[in-house]
């Protein structure tokens, strides 16, 4: 017992000693870090003066000095990133040239080979903003086969920013299947970036892929592309067993402003999933000029789900017509519907009704 108590005493004191040493280490680290930050801020300040004339194309990019140290390069890269964000991509092309000139591209290629996952992710992100270069595309395609899912997502995103690379959307999606990467909403943005130039590939994949998640992503991208010619392929998904796919298909038809498949969409007003019915309500709102759509809205305004009811009632209030009057006339049995109608009237003409 005595021995155990002495051990306990020693362990507690040793642990306290370690914590005190770590505290001292933290203080020293913060001192060094503060100095590094101050130096970085000075570098960023100096480079801002150098970069602005280059971005405004007052001076050529060759006027910028070459960077030798990694610490300075990191500070300048941070500044470049900040400028890109602040000016919302306004100087994107000039910044690409700057990145190549200051050695950002080489640095990115170096980072993607790093053993650290975080560095590889940073490398991929950096390469996404550089100019056309087959070496960069090759490095990023190689990263699509990385063991780490985060690196693959970042590489896929960077490749989506570099539309000219030869990598197919199918290859990108295949690389993201493992490790649950496809689940991330970020992949939605990646697939969307391919939408304007790869509509046919999207449609072809939509018919071939079996996974519900991939179908949702592809449908979403088709809606961004806005190609009405694909409406038939989209409508074929209205009977898919997964509610997420059915809902995405309806929303895509809504974005495509497709009136041709209204009958098939109408069949979903009795769908068991409220998300699908909500999508139908949104579709019907956008087709509001059509009498068939107004009938759907009238039906959905009496749905059991409040969100569906609200969208439908507001939609019907904005187009008015016979079904709106019918809804108003029959709402007295249902106080919630009555209040929704009042809300919708106020929303449609905010100056008319103020309680």
């Amino acid at each position: 017992m005595k021995f155990a108590l002495v051990i306990l005493l020693i362990v507690s004191l040793v642990l306290l000693g370690i914590a005190l040493v770590l505290w001292l280490f933290l203080l020293l680290h913060r001192l060094v870090d503060n100095r590094r930050t101050t130096r970085g801020e000075q570098v960023a300040h100096d480079w801002l003066g150098l970069l602005l004339p280059v971005l405004e194309e007052v001076e050529p990019v060759d006027h910028l000095p070459r960077i030798q140290s990694h610490a300075v390069l990191e500070s300048v890269l941070e500044l470049v990133g900040e400028l890109n964000e602040r000016f919302r991509g306004q100087y994107r092309e000039q910044l690409k040239d700057v990145l190549v000139h200051i050695g950002g591209e080489d640095y990115g290629l170096e980072l993607v080979h790093s053993r650290s996952r975080q560095q590889r992710v940073r490398g991929c992100a950096l390469l996404g903003w550089t100019s056309l270069n087959p070496n960069v595309d090759f490095a990023l395609e190689r990263c699509l086969r990385d063991v780490d899912g985060q690196v693959r997502v970042e590489a896929a995103y960077s490749l989506s920013l570099r539309q000219e690379s030869g990598v197919t959307l199918q290859a990108v999606l295949a690389s993201l299947r493992e490790g649950g990467c496809l689940e991330s909403e970020r992949v939605r943005d990646i697939v969307r970036k391919y939408a304007p130039t790869r509509v046919r590939e999207l449609a072809s994949l939509l018919t071939r892929e079996e996974s519900a998640r991939e179908k949702v992503l592809l449908l979403d991208a088709i809606s961004v592309a806005g190609d009405l010619a694909q409406a038939g392929v989209v409508a074929a998904q209205l009977t898919h067993p997964a509610p997420s796919v059915r809902a995405a298909a309806v929303l895509t038809l809504e974005k495509l402003s497709d009136p041709e498949h209204m009958e098939q969409v109408a069949a979903l007003t009795k769908d068991t999933d409220p998300k699908v019915r909500l999508a139908v309500a949104k579709y019907s709102v956008s087709m509001g000029r059509n009498a068939g759509a107004r009938y759907l809205l009238w039906q959905l305004a009496q749905d059991v789900n409040f969100d569906v009811q609200r969208v439908a009632t507001h939609g019907l209030a904005s187009v008015k017509g016979d079904f709106w009057e019918r809804l108003r006339a029959g709402c007295h049995q249902d106080p919630l519907l009555e209040s929704l109608i009042e809300e919708a009237i106020e929303a449609a003409s905010p100056t008319l009704v103020r309680s």
Binding site: L8, A19, R186, D189, E343
Partner: protein, 483 residues
């Protein structure tokens, strides 16, 4: 030097029972500290992971992306006249692509509603009230044309849970975020907190952000401009405690997939799930913990693959009580809330069906937060007295002191070091020295006081005491360092 033993203390049964009780207390305290130490190691990769995630998903991408989900902020307010306008202004400056704010005036006796109407030029509007969850009567709904994302609901008093239920029922976005009206959110807090919902939208059910003490910080126009540690000792101890007991422990729980508390001051939930669960529970003071535990129960019953996260970098700033009297009220109330939740969900304890929540999280609350404070206080009185009476040896006394104080200091310092190393909130070296001193000194009095308040909370729970008690606040306006 020990005093000569008193005769009756020499009886066999007395010395044996003292020895056994003391040994049990020592073992329990050592075990508790070992678990906390283990939590530090468990939290370590979670902090690193959070940083890596931050660099991957750049905030810029999230702000511009349509994939970032719209969020409804639910702000219950009761007698918050001094802080509500400032808090709301802070919420209106959040960097987030699409969000709405629903403030619920929960029958305040002060002029909370009037100050809101005046500050934001609110007008009454018509809104359908679906009542998918239970809450008291809605007296009026207000909005303004200049701020279409702001809605103010005036309702009869029903408590915080009631107000949150009303807000979530009127919310229109798929995710809802509860925010205390007396708190301030960092402008990037929401965009950072929503990350798990973007990474794993199918499985993430709730996300909690980190709550930190604003006392001592420079606050202007609803934003924390400069992070400084509090000047007053009682506030400083709380600042350290928020890092040790809340941030670090919750990061460890995230790692072990057993987060059971998401602070009511800042937590994001899926609205659909909340409505299906029937919203927040009425009549409890620990409605935030109760909701998360009920969520785990619901998910286990339905066989839903789910995750509850705690994210360290999104920060919500709160005003910590600056007097022991108010702090005592707050802590006894928290303890009552814990007892109420554990009692209500006692059938989840030690049940493998509820996974790590049933087998790990809830039992550790029972042992370390309910039983331990009782024994801790007993040990603090009994061990020194019995040593002086010659019943316990010097080795035992020293080992006990080492476990209570050295181990305690080690844990407080380590938590502070880990949080500051990874999140870098305090840039000033002097501030880190001050926080370190706070981490050391809190072990001599403050932690013991906390145990006392916990015991008081348990007593109040046993006596079925209800209600929140009055919380006096000074407000954020004009708060400067040392103010």
């Amino acid at each position: 030097m020990t005093s000569p033993p008193v005769e009756w203390t020499q009886s066999f049964w007395f010395t044996e029972s003292v020895w056994l009780t003391s040994t049990f207390i020592l073992i329990l305290q050592s075990a508790q500290n070992a678990v906390y130490l283990y939590n530090i190691f468990l939290a370590l990769p979670e902090f690193i992971h959070a940083r890596a995630r931050a660099s991957r998903l750049s905030e810029w991408w999230m702000i511009t992306s349509e994939a970032t989900p719209p969020v409804s902020l639910l702000v219950p307010a009761y007698n918050e006249e001094t802080t509500i306008v400032e808090s709301l202004r802070s919420l209106l400056t959040l960097r987030y692509p699409e969000y709405e704010i629903i403030v619920v005036n929960d029958g305040s006796k002060d002029n909370s509603l009037g100050s809101l109407i005046e500050a934001f030029k609110l007008q009454p509007v018509k809104r359908a009230v679906p009542r998918r969850v239970a809450y008291a009567e809605v007296l009026g709904i207000y909005a303004c044309e200049d701020l279409p994302n702001l809605l103010v609901v005036d309702k009869a008093n029903g408590g915080k849970a009631d107000a949150l239920n009303a807000a979530m029922d009127l919310a229109s976005h798929p995710y809802v975020c509860s925010v205390d009206a007396d708190s301030l959110l960092d402008s990037d807090a929401l965009i950072r907190a929503v990350r798990p919902f973007i990474d794993h939208p199918e499985t993430t059910m709730a996300v909690g952000g980190t709550i930190r003490v604003a006392n001592g910080c420079t606050v202007r126009a609803g934003q924390v401009l400069e992070v400084r540690p509090p000047r007053r000792w009682v506030e400083l101890f709380q600042a350290v405690e928020y890092l040790r007991a809340f941030l670090l422990t919750r990061m460890a729980w995230t790692r072990s997939e057993s987060v059971t508390i998401i602070s009511g001051a800042f937590g994001i939930f899926r609205r659909e799930t909340l409505l299906e669960l029937g919203g927040y529970e009425h009549g409890t003071v620990g409605e935030d913990m109760e909701l998360v535990v009920r969520m785990h129960r619901w998910a286990a019953a339905k066989g839903v693959n789910h995750a509850v996260h705690h994210v360290p970098d999104p920060v919500c700033w709160t005003e910590a009580p600056s007097t022991l009297k108010v702090l005592s009220r707050q802590r006894t109330r928290w303890q009552r809330g814990l007892c109420e939740t554990l009692w209500k969900h006692r059938d989840m304890l030690f049940r493998p069906k509820f996974g790590r929540v049933g087998m790990l999280a809830l039992p550790s609350f029972l042992i370390f937060d309910i039983l331990s404070p009782l024994l801790e206080l007993l040990g603090l009185v009994m061990v020194p007295l019995c040593y002086l009476a010659g019943i316990l040896s010097l080795e035992f006394f020293l080992a006990y002191c080492a476990v209570v104080f050295s181990f305690g200091m080690c844990l407080s310092l380590s938590a502070m070091i880990l949080a500051e190393y990874s999140l870098q909130h305090h840039r000033n070296v002097g501030d880190l020295i001050r926080l370190g001193i706070g981490a050391i000194v809190e072990n001599f009095g403050y932690r013991q006081l906390n145990s006392w308040w916990r015991v008081k909370g348990i007593w109040q729970f046993l006596r079925n005491k209800k209600g929140w008690g009055e919380m006096t606040r000074r407000g954020f306006n004009e708060r400067q360092h040392g103010g």
